[in-house]
Amino acid sequence: MDITNAIVAEGIVKVFKKKARRKHIIGPKIGKDELVYAVNKVDMKVRKGELFGLLGPNGAGKTTLVKCLSALLLPNEGTAVINGHDIVEDPIAARESIGITTGGERTLYWKLSGRDNLRYFAALYGLSSDEANQRIDYLMKIMGLLDKQYERIEKYSTGMRQKVSICRALIHDPPVLLLDEPTLGLDPSFSRFIRLFIKKDLNEKQGKTILLTTHYMDEADQLCDRIAIMNQGKIVAVDTPENLKKSIPHDEVLEVKCLGHADFEGIGQRVYSQSEDGVQVHRIHSENVEEIMSEVIKAADSAKILSMNVTKPTLEDVFIHLTGTRLTGEFNEE
């Protein structure tokens, strides 16, 4: 039994069949059925007590991997051991060790109160009536939900529903937590509360092993001890946030904001551009950013440069460096 790692995934493959489109409802297929590798030979180790981030854009395979780890989906190949229990051989014991929460609001019974929801899920995790009540009192208190506990979920705000979802994941006090996009769609104050709770209370105070999936790079940067970067079903890098940023061959990035179209292709080693509220933001990777500034001004042509900043590489830059594409996760911190 592995005593240092709480999660060990070995060669996990999850394939979905994408059926070919038909021209008409009963007409012939256009093309062939396709196999989509949502998770492709993923190896991963998460140490006990570690807060481990899984960072990747939407569709990278993070949620599918979490569903495999929680023994909800059966992998086509490979397996994982959670807290000493194999998810394929002994899924019941593996599930007992896991608390899971997934993004999205509709995972609770909206016609039931917050308390009734938690009592039901407590029963699913084998708690007795008394144990359930004690645990619900404790969790609703720390989440600040006691005064709303008898109200129906449909009357809760999005943030309050997410708090109930987290209470559900913690109802049986599991050693391992799989938190899939826990701050997705939350307003800044709720996001900050959830992040602090995950980091300070669950990880540092209670010592829980946490696998956190996110596409918010700053969230992963702030919270996680180590991060796995996932793209197109594969893990492309695993390290601490600092080491990942150091892995870029240059330690500075030139960020240029301008109005209007400007083509900076060919300047520096890599250029990545996106539009934010009508402003074009270009991140130019180069070994010596000061040397390329004059080229940038010249290439701006008719576009109006609003600002030029020399910044340190972010995880976004790491992602661009590794995959050639952007993460595109906007961070909703105040």
Binding site: K14, F16, K17, A38, T64, K67, S70, A71, L72, L73, L74, N76, I92, A93, R95, E96, I100, T102, G104, R106, T107, L108, Y109, W110, K111, L112, D116, R119, Y120, F121, A123, L124, Y125, G126, L127, S128, S129, A132, R168
Partner: protein, 273 residues
């Protein structure tokens, strides 16, 4: 075991609380089957010129056409409201996004299914009780106290087999997501091949197929007790066949659910609406 009972209790509580949020649904199941039966009564009266028929009696063993049809309506309501409820329950869990949490929990699935089946029985009993009150006070159907226990015994045996069918249906719903058309098909096959509206002796093919349907034995036994004053000892062969079919249906139902659960976990369909 204690925790399983707690889970079954919580499952029932959850379903009943949610059902009570939709009173129109309760009204539909209580009233509609009675309204449905009225045209057949009027049709029967128009055809035979009254509420009894000797020709009908030769096939059914009783010439009381109206009580025959009313009992068929009540028992079939119990059956179909439970089947619709069980399939719909899995469908709704999927729609609410809670199905993944249920299937991803370490709970024994048989406890969850028992909880779901029992809550459907409770709501079906409420519908049928309302129907019986309407039948007794509106259509003059009589029921003596001494007949209640034997009828309940037959009902229990019917319900056990029904649980097997409902569990199988829940398993199929995991895959196909929408089970209403499947239940509609079962419903119409049962209407055609079991003595809900007419005695199966009306056609040799219907009589031959009806022996495979547990509802046939339950209806024959219940009508025997209710309308012909027969005792369970006279009807023992129907009761024995029902009990045997219960074992077959429950084993079959749980095997189907177990197979389908594994299949949807493998295909990934479990995560789709």
């Amino acid at each position: 075991m204690r925790n399983d009972l707690f889970l079954i209790k919580e499952e029932i509580k959850k379903n009943i609380k949610i059902l009570l949020c939709y009173p129109v649904e309760i009204m539909f199941w209580a009233i509609f089957p009675v309204l449905w039966v009225i045209p057949f009564i009027f049709q029967g009266e128009a055809l035979v010129g009254g509420v009894t028929s000797s020709e009908f009696g030769k096939l059914a063993g009783t010439d009381q056409f109206i009580p025959f049809v009313l009992i068929g309506a009540i028992i079939s309501t119990y059956l179909f409201s439970s089947l619709y409820g069980m399939g719909g329950s899995i469908r709704m869990e999927s729609y609410w996004g809670t199905l993944e949490y249920i299937l991803g929990s370490p709970a024994r699935k048989i406890s969850i299914l028992m909880g779901k089946a029992l809550s459907e029985s409770i709501s079906s009993t409420l519908f049928v009780a309302t129907q019986m009150v309407i039948c007794i006070f509106g259509f003059g159907l009589t029921l003596t106290v001494g007949k209640i226990l034997p009828i309940l015994l037959v009902m229990l045996l019917l319900v056990a087999g029904l649980y097997g069918m409902a569990i199988a249906l829940a398993g199929v719903t995991l895959q196909i997501k929408e089970s209403r058309s499947l239940v509609h098909t079962i419903e119409y096959l049962f209407y055609l091949f079991s003595p809900i509206r007419y005695p199966v002796g009306i056609h040799p093919m219907i009589a031959a197929v009806s022996v495979l349907i547990p509802l046939t034995y339950a209806l024959v036994a219940i009508r025997g007790i209710w309308l012909l004053n027969q005792s369970v000892s006279v009807l023992w062969q129907y009761v024995a066949i029902l009990a045997l079919l219960d074992v077959v249906f429950i084993t079959f139902g749980y095997s189907i659910f177990y197979f389908m659960e594994k299949k949807v976990r493998k295909s990934g369909v479990v995560a789709q609406y």
